[in-house]
Symmetry: C2
Subunit: 395 residues, 2 copies
Amino acid sequence: MFKFSEYTNKISTDAISDILKYMTAPGIIAFSGGSPAKETFPVDAIKVIIDEALTKDAVSILQYGSTGGRPELKKAYIEHIAKPKGIDVSEENLITLTGSNQGIGLIADVLLNPGDTVLVESPTFLTTIMVLKKLSAKSIPVDVDKNGMKMDDLEEKIKKYSPKFIYTVPTFQNPTGLTLPTERREKIAALAEKYGVIIIEDDPYCELRYKGESLPPIKSFDKKGYVVLLSSFSKIIAPGLRVGVMAAHKDIIAKVTLAKQLDDTHSPNLNQIICAEFLNKGLLPGHIQKIIPIYAERLEAMLNAIKKYFPKEAVCTKPEGGLFVWGSLPGDVNMKDVLNRAATEEKVAFVPGAPFYLNEIDGKNSFRLNFSSNPPEIIDEGIKKLGRILTEYVD
Amino acid sequence: MFKFSEYTNKISTDAISDILKYMTAPGIIAFSGGSPAKETFPVDAIKVIIDEALTKDAVSILQYGSTGGRPELKKAYIEHIAKPKGIDVSEENLITLTGSNQGIGLIADVLLNPGDTVLVESPTFLTTIMVLKKLSAKSIPVDVDKNGMKMDDLEEKIKKYSPKFIYTVPTFQNPTGLTLPTERREKIAALAEKYGVIIIEDDPYCELRYKGESLPPIKSFDKKGYVVLLSSFSKIIAPGLRVGVMAAHKDIIAKVTLAKQLDDTHSPNLNQIICAEFLNKGLLPGHIQKIIPIYAERLEAMLNAIKKYFPKEAVCTKPEGGLFVWGSLPGDVNMKDVLNRAATEEKVAFVPGAPFYLNEIDGKNSFRLNFSSNPPEIIDEGIKKLGRILTEYVD
């Protein structure tokens, strides 16, 4: 009955449907989402902060705010997030986002004309793939090894394609869990400067490290302002608040502010204040220390269960952090079929890997497993069930 | 240093800068914004609701939510807003917005290809003008009289241009304050059905009526699903929460949900619950009854002051509701110059009218005055000051 715009036909909703379809089915064990553990939410601290904030500052919190975001959050971000990571930014370099996801659409919108080229990891975050399709960008995959993007291939493709930007999730990537080591972070920042190309560093999982040493963000090596960093509070405070921050050159922030003005006017004030005060009260380091062992235990439970129950032909990553294990079966297996069987026969769900690829054919036999949302015993049970199904798909 | 996308150059930031420039200058009397009176925010009720919600349901509020929005808010909207207005919708017809402003961008995005035609009132809401420019739509003004869009001209232009949609703010329009009478509302819904054209009914001010009878929304005359209604909680609860609702045909909602998934994933949960519970507790009617006299008094103060202090050549509207008085001076006056002088010499600010027009030349001599943000005595003082400046621009 209605005629919709062309882009709505270019974007398949299958990927999201696949994630959601079985997630809420009764009795299902879902490894599908990317949700933080519900046990980790700092409910009491948030209650106290809201009460204090509305007592002190209700009018300014309930009134319209500025599109750029609350100064309280920008100051707290600089002090408690940027500085400790060696990122040199001031308030004019920051804008609050309604979740860091919003930043992907906004930055793509202000940078891309139809047909412009973007370099990405493949597989990569599926929302980014859809945003790039929406804007009719030409997405080119950069070769990756177990340490993420390969720098020689990246440089070659920068020279060959003159991309508008490079999109990377450098730490515990979604979906693969891969992490770009420090020397590549330094190198990618140097390439950005050498060729005048923008890097979008989408880094929501950086605090979720269960082993090994924290790495400096690419943004910390950025001297000229070519790196746009997207930071999220979803994984370290709570995703339901929808608060993220973009850190970038002030000229980029000015354009993104205009785009955000046309989008949601500004991010809700109270949500920004909750995050700002959580930082200002010094609660973040303790909170991260509290959630790390929970996630580490769940990751270990998943890796142990995979070893016990998956067929040996299944190849899975062993990430040092983040929320996901990524795997594949050999041969011509279609994981969408596997999902349908697993969900109906064994009541266990996961995400088929194909939608994370630019060319979905590439990832047909791969899958993503989230380990953060379920306690260890449920993880063991679910992986055992999934193992039974996977075993039927290998010879 | 950076190359931005073409659309960022198509959109002038002047309009928004003009609004913001003098608004926060020290000692200024600002008639610029569209903010609700700060005295009207239901702070105590919101505190209670948050405390109850986080006590009862913290995990689901802090976790990721669905892109479509919280069922609690949809149910409350149906019961307390849609039904009393004669709007027949169910949950599949609704999506929560991060402020109703977000709905303009989302609906335009899923309907418009570059070059598509849209019919609008002129002058109209300036964010809508910018969204349409961004998407390279062809915006055609429909003739208006003191009762809003003229139906014969509208029908003629529907036939002539086959527009993708018609955008209207039917009640106390921003910026003019004009209201479309019931028979035109019925007629516009009938035209939509006859020609298969979508109507975007942007209705944030409908509850702010200080005189006369409430009118049924266009959506209440919509039998086939051609009307997309944007409702806002900004003017009836608090804009800082950023909550709005779109009511539309389920096929449209499905596409808008996809577009929102690529934008901010979902609107923050707590903010939706605050609005839902405000409705469920039956607080809205009493709250509206409380704020109406405050705004009515301020409107009266402004109209009286205009009569006393403005030169007789200034023609101003006398709206029955909303937030704005709209006016113009005769001849070749540039209101941007008037604003600069008023702000520097008299410390009073307003919004020049030009950016609200498709063709800015048309509105050079017009201006918008907000009466909701200041108490009567300040309004009197500010209009007196502005009157002194305006008088110098007439012979």
